[in-house]
Symmetry: C2
Subunit: 311 residues, 2 copies
């Protein structure tokens, strides 16, 4: 785990990591494009807005986790690809809605004006709705000739996704986040908030990918332990970056947690302890993958990418 | 079809219709309550907001259509009930989002202040998101021991629902509706708008219910023809009511189509011709049910309810 001992690794290490993930990312880009109506399809405004946010240069960490989890249980790529698309659609919907004036009121996302700045609030709300809807629609679309086993796995993955995106997950976390502004919250409550807001969907990527790939119970247990840990690590790093990086690096408004007096791992634990926690969680996540052997290599790469990212 | 010859039937007729649908409605109320987290579940705000809008005295026309379509193909109630709940959740989400200040900016819905007036815009947006998410999550939850046939039907119904709620349906219709404000649109475009905004979900209720109930191809064809027609009838009557009824009767702002210079069946065709069109569509819908015999009775009752409603 030497490579994980520094939150600011050298550029060549980061480049090597990115290259190892590039073919998966290209696969996801094509599948996302294919899963959506063309930009000029009726009514064109909504498809322009959906594509504007979905193809804005996201890192695709969630779909990469889905693909890597499928690989970790020796599953076929075609079985996990719809979930890979669905989780990116859901991530993008949550960003569009979170950025709205009534929520975090953000003007900048991935280095470009947010959806409501370009298309207006009404279309931004509907673009989020459209991405959420299409994500679940995609999970329900079954190729002709699929056997019972594959169909059961698809439904199980859709249920995992539904749970993660609901009021006990993504939505509940955002509600709690809004309600935490301007007040001190205890560390246990902060962890619950982030397990819901960020961790639930990341965890669903990994567990859902493993279910779709046909993982055996022992494999699913390894992958589940990895998933819980890496979700939390992601949020800790997010908080560190918000406190230390500028807008040009992040592609979104920087320092906004502090401006909104939001509870973060940095505000609750301090910067150094937050960085140490991210290391510790990376170690735990990599440890959980050991029983999978080389099949877990891609998940390990993404864990490094998550903890070592700069934006 | 004598009973359909008057858009203003006497009160006893309306009461008899309502009574025939009451047991289905009670079943839906219980199932909806059961399908949602308790009001005090973490984080409580979102569950209060979700329940505030979902249990606001809606007529439950969409879930009743699902149940009646199941009955029309001799399906079991337990197989169609999750879809009945899902369509009402989706209908409610669409109302919450449509009422937002950035969209139709409505203060009143079902005789009560709209969600954003009570909970604020952020929670209203998230309550809509939560209902949409829970609807598809519910469709993915399969009881242990279900056989392959039932699972395949469930996925097929979820795909029908996803299509109806997407940018070619509910969301596309709302986009087009927003973009039509203040300009004259030709009759063909008006019909396309309403087939998407209102018709697609109503049609999905009927077709989805019939698929879940295990309908044979001939039955599905009858039910599909009924579905397409009744969806349009619903919108024509909506436009007539908006032009003729007051807010106290409708439980929402009245006359708002004209105020917003929206294209409606009344503004395009005139009041009398719109009423005549509603009658004609009711006749067509009832005609489509003839091959189903007495199994279609409940669908016929709902068709009457839709065309003869006063709110």
């Amino acid at each position: 785990m030497a490579a994980s001992s520094d939150l600011l690794p050298d550029a060549s290490h980061a480049t090597a990591l990115a290259a190892a993930l590039e073919s998966g990312r290209a696969l996801v880009e094509r599948a996302l494009d294919h899963a959506l109506p063309a930009e000029h399809a009726w009514p064109a405004t909504i498809h322009r807005a959906v594509r504007y946010s979905l193809f804005a240069g996201g890192k695709r960490i969630r779909p990469l986790l889905v693909l890597a989890a499928g690989e970790a249980v020796a599953g076929a790529t075609e079985e996990v690809l719809p979930l890979a698309c669905a989780v990116e659609m859901i991530h993008t919907y949550s960003l569009i809605h979170d950025d709205l004036p009534a929520m975090d009121n953000d003007d900048l996302r991935r280095g470009r004006p947010t959806s409501h700045k370009v298309f207006g609030e009404a279309i931004a709300i509907l673009a989020g709705d459209a991405l959420l809807t299409r994500a679940f629609h995609l999970m329900a679309e079954i190729p002709a000739g699929w056997d019972e086993t594959r169909i059961r796995r698809r439904l199980a993955a859709a249920a995992i996704l539904g749970e993660a995106c609901g009021t006990a997950g993504l939505i509940g976390g955002q509600v709690q986040d809004l309600e935490s502004e301007g007040r001190a919250i205890p560390p246990a409550e902060l962890e619950r908030l982030h397990r819901a807001k960020t961790g639930a969907l990341l965890s669903a990527c990994v567990r859902g990918g493993a279910v779709l790939g046909g993982g055996e119970p022992a494999d699913l247990a390894c992958v589940g332990a990895f998933a819980a840990t890496i979700g939390l690590a992601f949020q800790v790093v997010d908080d560190v970056l918000d406190a230390t990086e500028g807008a040009a690096q992040l592609g979104k408004t920087a320092g906004k947690d502090r401006a909104a007096q939001k509870a973060t791992y940095v505000s609750v634990h301090g910067l150094e302890q937050a960085r140490a926690l991210a290391h510790e969680l990376l170690g735990q996540a990599l440890g959980a993958l050991v029983p999978l052997g080389s099949r877990g290599a891609q998940l390990a790469r993404i864990a490094h990418l998550i903890v070592e990212r700069r934006a």
